[in-house]
Amino acid sequence: MSVLIVINTADGHVKKASLEAITYGAKVAEQLGVAAEGVVLGSVNDDLAGLGKYGVKKIHQVASDALNQLDAQLYTNVIAQVAQAAGATVIIFSNNVDGKALAPRLSVRLKAGLVSGAVALPDTSNGFVVKKNVFSGKAYANIAVNTPIKIIALNPNAYQTIAGEGVAEVVPFAATVGTPRVKVTSTTKASGEVVLTEAEVVVSAGRGLKGPENWGMVEDLAKTLHAATACSRPVADAHWRPHNEHVGQTGFAIAPNLYIAIGISGAIQHLAGVNRSKVIVVINKDPEAPFFKAADYGIVGDAFEVVPKLNEAIKKLKGVA
């Protein structure tokens, strides 16, 4: 028996969310007294054996050109075969774009109950109950999984990565892959920036900034903090900022360690995408702005004065000129 962790890569590198999934999966394995194993599909440049320090003992590597891009059906075929060979009773995904494409398919394939968006370790004291976010982070639900095999898709940033000691045994796995039905014809990436959904720190701004020409100070602050930038919906709708920065109910849902909201009122639909952030800082000139109710720290003031000063103060702290 084992806990099987599905490890995602992008451009040959293991995703940060997968390190969280491995740490989490290793803990689940410990709880159940079984081994933690991993599976990686497609070619990888990173040192897989080194992932052992997050607690995984053995990694099944399935290399095939057909697996270098995501075809949910092929991936499901392969993961199902590995799961069977490894005697997996719990399968862990990260609830990121790949996990959302794969976990539901695998759930049907294996008739294994799925909890997507898990935020804590399972409670195995009476059955198998996993806590997940519901109502866009405004509440949680405890979901009982009632099948012999269980699938958990862990929310990114919900479980802290812990690196210890250890080396994983990496073994090639010969799987029947099949023929892809989805062909990837092109890929575009926002280059060089911190990926919003993975960022530890996010600097976000709203309509209070008046126009796209004023985003320089936001980008400067983000650079100092090695943060991703985000925005409210009207800002994306007005094309002040790209759509892939829009957070909230209808945009991305994020859960960074630190979310800095500048000139954003804090409408409930905005909060739905950011209220899982660990620490929220609000900078707004209106003391009545609803965002202050959801904030940990706040400054009532003019963003155009506060943000540049804040940037300088953080630079000073970090010792950068």
């Binding site: 109950v129 509440a139 405890n142 979901i143 720190v201 630190l258 609000v282 400054i299 000073k316």
Partner: protein, 247 residues
């Protein structure tokens, strides 16, 4: 072209979230229900646009829900579906709902099955993938664009930090999100027409759910905001560094 759009009913985005029956049920008291925004704005409106581009297109809507889902499905019909199917079942897990949708889709000869990215109450982001697996169809998730040319679909989907263009032959299941279409509001003509459009009620097939809700809870309330004077950003930096350990 035959399109099936999956429509679910969710509490209005501003609804108060509370629970009853020893925290095992969502408190529906005073809650306004809406069409799940992703289903309405993106899946349904994109289907309507495809019909506007090719008048021979037929749009069916499916919802798995009790009779109280009917106002929602009528509103969806008013926006533009041709007919609706309600599977008369309530309160089950994603697998159960997906099995009902797959059963409706199985004999419908649909070229395209569209879902929203996720329901804003359960946040599963699961049903599209489950339906695709049950129907042995390809699944493109979190799509931001969808174009059709004959039996070929060109679909742009979100990837971490970017986008990817996929080509796939119909039929296909697609989960949709922002970018796909612009929200519309129903007009009087649509509302009148919806009254006479067929809304078929079918009984669910027998399926065992794989999961169940053991209970709900609310996250601990925030301690309250600590305000720092605007002329003392150093203090904010100190708090973030020393107290919150966030920078």
């Amino acid at each position: 072209m035959k399109i099936l759009v999956c429509i679910s009913k969710t509490p209005d985005t501003t609804a108060k979230i509370a629970f009853t029956d020893n925290n095992t049920k969502f408190d529906v008291n005073g809650v306004q229900w809406i069409i799940n925004p992703y289903d309405e704005w993106y899946a349904l409106v994109r289907a309507i646009e495809l019909k506007e581009a090719d008048a021979s297109t037929v749009i069916h809507l499916v919802t798995v829900g009790a009779a109280d889902a009917e106002p929602i499905i009528r509103k969806a019909l008013a926006l533009g579906g041709d007919e609706a199917i309600r599977v008369n079942a309530d309160n089950h897990d994603s697998y159960y709902i997906a099995a009902q949708i797959a059963d409706v889709a199985k004999n419908g000869g649909y070229d395209l099955v569209l879902t929203g990215k996720e329901t804003i109450d359960y946040n599963g982001s699961s049903i599209g993938g489950m339906v695709a697996e049950m129907l042995d169809m390809p699944y493109v998730s979190l799509a931001t664009k969808l174009e059709l040319a004959g039996t070929a679909a060109t679909i742009t989907r979100e990837i971490e930090g970017g986008e990817e263009v996929n080509e796939v032959s119909l039929p296909v299941v697609v989960s949709t999100q922002k970018g796909m279409a612009e929200a519309r509001i129903p007009n009087m003509r649509g509302i009148m027409a919806a009254r006479t459009k067929p809304l078929k009620v079918v009984e669910p097939i027998a399926v065992d759910a794989l999961t169940s809700v053991a209970g709900f809870g609310l996250p601990p309330a925030k301690a309250g905001v600590k305000l720092v004077p605007a002329d003392n950003v150093d203090e904010l930096v100190r708090l973030l560094h020393e107290e919150a350990k966030a920078i």
